[in-house]
């Protein structure tokens, strides 16, 4: 320990004897360093210089440690300055410590389920003192109205009470669950609704499918148009056709806005259309009677010959498939009338049957009406022919070629759907054009109207 200093002193003392003025800095520095180190801390001492030997270094280190030990604030010091250093958190911590024995109340209130098991007597007393006023509010709220949002904030506290008194827990929970369910419900319900829709679709599809077998039979019908032997197939197809007719009847209702307009327009002949619209619900009867009638129709010309009662029957069932086709083609000037004839055949027979059953007096009225294929009556009481599916098919296939579908063929279902769509289209178009023309105070629809419609 001393040796290094001894070593140094001679080495450093050597210059002082030689030059007193000069020697001091070394010693001073040493003294300075010591003082500095004492006052300012450890940083300024370069130990390597002053302690060339390891022992000296160790001695310095010990010294430094002592000094640092002196100047680092001990626990007592900290405690002395505690008041200055304390934060709000410390205050709270102290408060918490002070209140520690009583603080368990919070735990019980925060979680309801655990609180059910662990309410302590002291806690209960506290809670009772606090809750009873709140409980009164709660009950008032309950009495006033069931406000779920209001209930929720109080939710945690009163629950215990409720639990104690009676199981009023469910209402808030229910509310929660209810909201959750209300959120989830649609999700769960969606598939069901979808299924329902699907079932609805399925119903429709079944209706459509009902037409499918007839569709096969539809060809039979077409054949029947040309061959007498196809009658039996027609008869077989009729029940399915009935379903199809229901759809058509609906559409008719849609298009015609009910039978009232008919009666308004032309009461004489239009009574039949009203019955026409009424007929679909009675369909089962025609089905029952259908075979008989069909048997009767087996002799088509027989019925045609007897005009008395079955006159309408003759008009639609018998003629349409056979005689009307050529007539219709002549009237409309369309070379291909096969498909429309099929439609007529499918639609009319049931109506005719029902009419025959329900209102036999319709005969003369029907006679008055031209025995057209499938005439419909517009909102204005004007008859119009149905759109020939062949035409629809032609247009649709032309459009389909550019659609990019690999199979450009049209199934019968699709064609039916397209025909239906285009009939609605023409209905809508006619209405719009009429509105345009009448708005221009014209009595005729001009090309400009159509152009305006297309431009819109």
């Amino acid at each position: 320990m001393t040796t290094p200093s001894a070593h140094r002193t001679p080495s450093r003392s050597e210059p002082p004897p030689s030059a007193h003025s000069v020697h001091t800095p070394l010693d001073r520095t040493g003294a300075h360093n010591a003082l500095n180190s004492v006052r300012r801390g450890t940083s300024q001492q370069p130990p390597s210089r002053n302690a060339p030997t390891p022992h000296g270094r160790a001695a310095r280190r010990q010294l430094m440690d002592r000094r640092t030990a002196i100047f680092t604030p001990g626990k007592k010091r900290r405690k002395s300055q505690n008041d200055q250093r304390e934060d709000a958190m410390d205050v709270l911590r102290h408060l918490g410590k002070a209140l520690a024995p009583n603080s368990q109340v919070i735990h019980s209130s925060s979680s309801m389920d655990s609180s059910d098991g662990s309410p302590e007597s002291t806690d209960k007393k506290r809670k009772d003192s606090k809750k009873k006023p709140r409980l009164s509010v709660w009950e008032e709220d309950d009495g006033l109205d069931d406000n779920f949002p209001l209930d929720r904030p109080r939710f945690s506290l009163p629950i215990d009470q409720d639990d104690d008194e009676e199981e009023d827990l469910p209402p808030p929970r229910l509310s929660e669950n209810y909201t959750v369910q209300s959120v989830e419900m649609p999700r769960r319900a969606d598939p069901e609704r979808d299924q329902a829709r699907l079932s609805m679709l399925g119903g429709r599809m079944s209706d459509v499918f009902g037409t499918l077998p007839p569709e096969e039979g539809g060809e039979g019908q077409r054949e029947s148009d040309f061959f007498d032997e196809g009658l039996y197939e027609n008869l077989m197809n009729r029940p399915a056709d009935d379903e199809y007719n229901r759809i058509d009847d609906d559409t008719i209702r849609r298009e015609t806005m009910g039978g009232d307009d008919f009666q308004m327009g032309t009461p004489g002949g239009m009574d039949e259309p009203s019955t026409f619209a009424m007929s679909p619900p009675i369909i089962p009867d025609p089905e029952l009677t259908a075979p008989i009638l069909e048997e009767a129709t087996g002799g088509f010309e027989l019925d045609a010959g007897s005009d008395g009662e079955p006159a309408p029957f003759e008009d639609f069932d018998d003629r349409e498939p056979f005689e009307d086709i050529p007539g219709g083609s002549d009237e409309e000037g369309i070379p291909m009338n096969d498909a429309p004839s099929d439609r007529e055949g499918s639609v009319d027979p049931t109506n005719d049957l029902t009419e025959n059953i329900t209102a036999p007096q319709d005969g003369p009225g029907r006679d008055a009406m031209p025995a057209r294929k499938k005439t419909r009556i517009s909102r204005h009481g004007v008859e119009y022919p149905s759109l020939p599916p062949a035409f629809v098919k032609k247009v649709a296939q032309r459009a389909l070629q550019s659609s990019g579908l690999s199979n450009p063929r049209l199934s019968t279902d699709t064609l039916d759907a397209l025909t239906q769509a285009s009939e609605w289209f023409f209905e809508q178009l006619g209405d719009d054009l009429g509105a345009y023309a009448s708005h221009a105070k014209r009595k005729t629809v001009e090309e400009s109207d159509v152009v305006t419609l297309m431009r819109r």
């Binding site: 679709l201 459509v208 009237e331 409309e332 000037g333 369309i334 070379p335 009556i377 517009s378 204005h380 004007v382 008859e383 119009y384 022919p385 759109l387 020939p388 035409f391 629809v392 032609k394 247009v395 649709a396 032309r398 459009a399 389909l400 550019s402 659609s403 579908l405 690999s406 199979n407 063929r409 049209l410 199934s411 279902d413 699709t414 039916d416 759907a417 397209l418 239906q420 769509a421 285009s422 609605w424 289209f425 023409f426 809508q428 178009l429 006619g430 209405d431 719009d432 054009l433 009429g434 345009y436 023309a437 009595k443 005729t444 629809v445 090309e447 159509v450 305006t452 419609l453 297309m454």
Partner: protein, 108 residues
């Protein structure tokens, strides 16, 4: 060129014959010429019935054009829809589904 020739040729024949026959011949010439006329009379009747007004001379042609456009839109939409379902054909279901929107698109 040739169709027009045929038409003119038949026009002579029409002039000489009765009106009914003229219609028939006109139809026939159209068939011969490869022009499939759209069912003009039917179209006219349908629109007239719905509009409760008469149609001017060439309005029905424009209507037919509009109808073709409608059909193209309908088929296109339905094709897209049926493609979504993976059908290779045009499905009636998709046609039905698309019909409403397409009709709304063409509403005046």
């Amino acid at each position: 060129m040739r169709p027009t020739m045929v038409l003119t040729f038949n026009a002579h024949a029409i002039a000489s014959s009765s009106p009914d026959k003229a219609d028939e011949q006109l139809l026939r010439t159209m068939a011969v010429a490869g022009k499939k006329a759209y069912p003009k009379a039917t179209l006219k009747k349908i629109v007239k019935a719905h509009a409760n007004l008469n149609l001017k001379k060439n309005a029905d042609v424009t209507i037919y054009l509009n109808y073709v456009l409608f059909m193209e839109t309908l088929v296109k939409e339905a094709a897209i829809d049926s493609k979504l379902y993976g059908d290779k054909k045009l499905a009636s279901r998709s046609v039905k589904k698309v019909t409403r929107d397409t009709l709304a698109k063409f509403k005046g």
